[in-house]
């Protein structure tokens, strides 16, 4: 299973402590890694198809990037392939531009049914995986929202509806981060998210990961969907959870 980690702060932040710890904790994921971040409203991704942790050592580039990348939102993914090839194109995060934003997307889960999805927009031809199709599905649906909705319609509600439709049409295990640089959206319908803010040992921003025990021995909060619901969606800005709602 892949793993996800994100940091969200009120100002540009680096994660030289938590990124390497995340990499080490997720070291069993051998099939690539990626770091996504924002600079001047533009989304950037650095990724690799190589293992993040090899022979007891963290990948050299990852280590350097952990010290240098600086952004209000940083999204990191380490991959254990369940769909698609092992190459850089299939490593996450992915970037797509729509609705006036550049979006970063990283996914952890398994949804083979969605691999058959044919996008009504420009497809990400280079990536043949459930994650790429999931991102395209969300992109296509959100574009419809931007076209059709009134100025007062909420983006959170729109995303919530898109995800519900996706789960209905393409059932599967979804767990992802999606960000337009303003908000970090986190969704899960399987596994947990572990949250920590105000860490004394790591960075003081809001930290969120799929790693079950968190990244330190501090008091991480476990968030997961309740058994009666279809999933849990969060919108995070800076160190604040702005909206948290079950689907």
């Amino acid at each position: 299973m892949c793993d996800l980690f994100a940091i969200s702060a009120n100002r540009d932040y680096s994660a030289p402590k938590s990124l390497p710890i995340f990499a080490e904790q997720a070291g069993k994921n051998l099939d690539g890694w990626g770091i996504g971040y924002f600079r001047n409203h533009h989304a950037y991704v650095e990724k690799s198809a190589k293992g993040i942790f090899k022979a007891g050592r963290l990948h050299d580039s990852f280590q350097r990037l952990a010290r240098v990348v600086k952004s209000k939102i940083i999204i990191c993914h380490v991959r254990l392939r369940t769909s698609g090839l092992i190459d850089e194109c299939h490593a996450h995060p992915f970037v797509l531009e729509f609705g006036g934003y550049e979006w970063i997307f990283a996914h952890n889960g398994k949804a083979p049914v969605i691999e058959s999805y044919k996008s009504s927009g420009i497809p990400m031809k280079e990536a043949l995986s459930d994650s790429a199709r999931t991102f395209e599905f969300l992109r296509d649906q959100l574009i419809q929202h931007f076209k059709q909705s009134s100025d007062a319609a909420g983006m959170f509600e729109a995303l919530s509806r898109c995800i519900s439709d996706m789960i209905e049409q393409y059932p599967g295990k979804y767990n992802f981060f999606l960000s337009n640089g303003q908000f970090l959206y986190a969704f899960t319908n399987h596994r947990q998210f572990m949250l920590l803010k105000g860490s004394k040992k790591l960075e003081g921003a809001l930290l969120i990961t799929t790693i079950e025990k968190g990244l330190s021995d501090e008091k991480w909060l476990r968030i997961a969907k309740s058994t009666s619901r279809r999933g849990m969606l969060l919108a995070i800005s800076g160190t604040d959870i702005i909206v948290r709602q079950p689907l």
């Binding site: 006036g100 934003y101 100025d151 007062a152 319609a153 909420g154 983006m155 800005s237 959870i241 909206v243």
Partner: protein, 246 residues
């Protein structure tokens, strides 16, 4: 009746077009004005006890500020004669720092008996105007909600705070509560007008208590309807993130 207006953009926006229109539309408010904005995440307020519009002219300082301010979130308030004190320090927006943010608050309407509220937190707003007590009440209850549950969502915490406020101090209330990233807009009376507009640098979202909006564009009107106790919107950049009844 006082009026409020806010602009939210995904980039630093200069409100030279819409702030003067707001001033003109709010010309019947003769008792002063205020503008709140952010620069490098620090909050700033400029206010005056002079009329925002007189002799067919928008107040000179108001006009100049509209040309100079650049901020992702800008809020403005014009005072009506009924709003009580004439003292400059009583003008909105008001400012308080709590929960790792500096917050600005501007409000219209009135709630019964709130002037008797005594805050349990520091700092206190040392002005005897009911808007300050409303702001302190919301601040106090946001802090309490986060002390009980540090991971409560801001929306849920503010909804609880507003419910508590209106339960203890019923009345008509509309306000903007903003930090450097997010704008919360609440109203349980009057209609609010909202417009997403494309500008050279990107989209902006405009929201005001002025019923017909500020231009000929197709402003959308939102009116709280029974049995809702009010409408709370979360706005960031040029988008409404979330809107729900209280």
């Amino acid at each position: 009746m006082c009026d409020i207006f806010a602009i939210s953009a995904g980039y630093n926006y200069t409100p030279q077009k819409y702030l003067p229109i707001f001033a003109e539309k709010g010309r019947h408010n003769m008792n002063g004005w205020g503008i709140g904005f952010f620069r490098e995440d620090q909050a700033f307020v400029e206010k005056s006890d002079e009329q925002v519009f007189s002799d067919q002219q928008v107040h000179e300082s108001f006009q100049r500020l509209a040309r100079v301010i650049d901020s992702r979130i800008i809020i403005s308030h014009v005072n009506c004669p009924q709003s009580g004190s004439l003292h400059l320090s009583h003008r909105h927006p008001l400012m308080l720092s709590f929960m790792d943010h500096t917050w600005l608050f501007a409000q219209v309407g009135n709630v019964d008996g709130i002037e008797n509220y005594e805050t349990v937190q520091e700092p206190r707003l040392e002005i005897s105007v009911y808007t300050a007590r409303i702001f302190e009440y919301l601040r106090d209850h946001l802090i309490i909600a986060h002390e009980r549950n540090p991971y409560i969502s801001m929306f849920a915490a503010l909804r609880l705070s507003i419910q508590s406020l209106l339960s203890n101090y019923p009345g008509n209330l509309a306000f903007f509560l903003v930090n450097e990233s997010v704008l919360f807009a609440f109203f349980n009376f009057r209609s609010f007008s909202i417009l997403k507009k494309s500008e050279k640098m990107g989209d902006v979202l405009l929201i005001t208590s002025i019923g017909e909006g500020l231009s000929q564009n197709n402003w959308q009107t939102i009116t709280p309807e029974e049995p809702s106790k009010g409408k709370l919107l979360v706005i960031a950049g040029p988008d409404v993130l979330y809107a729900a009844d209280i």
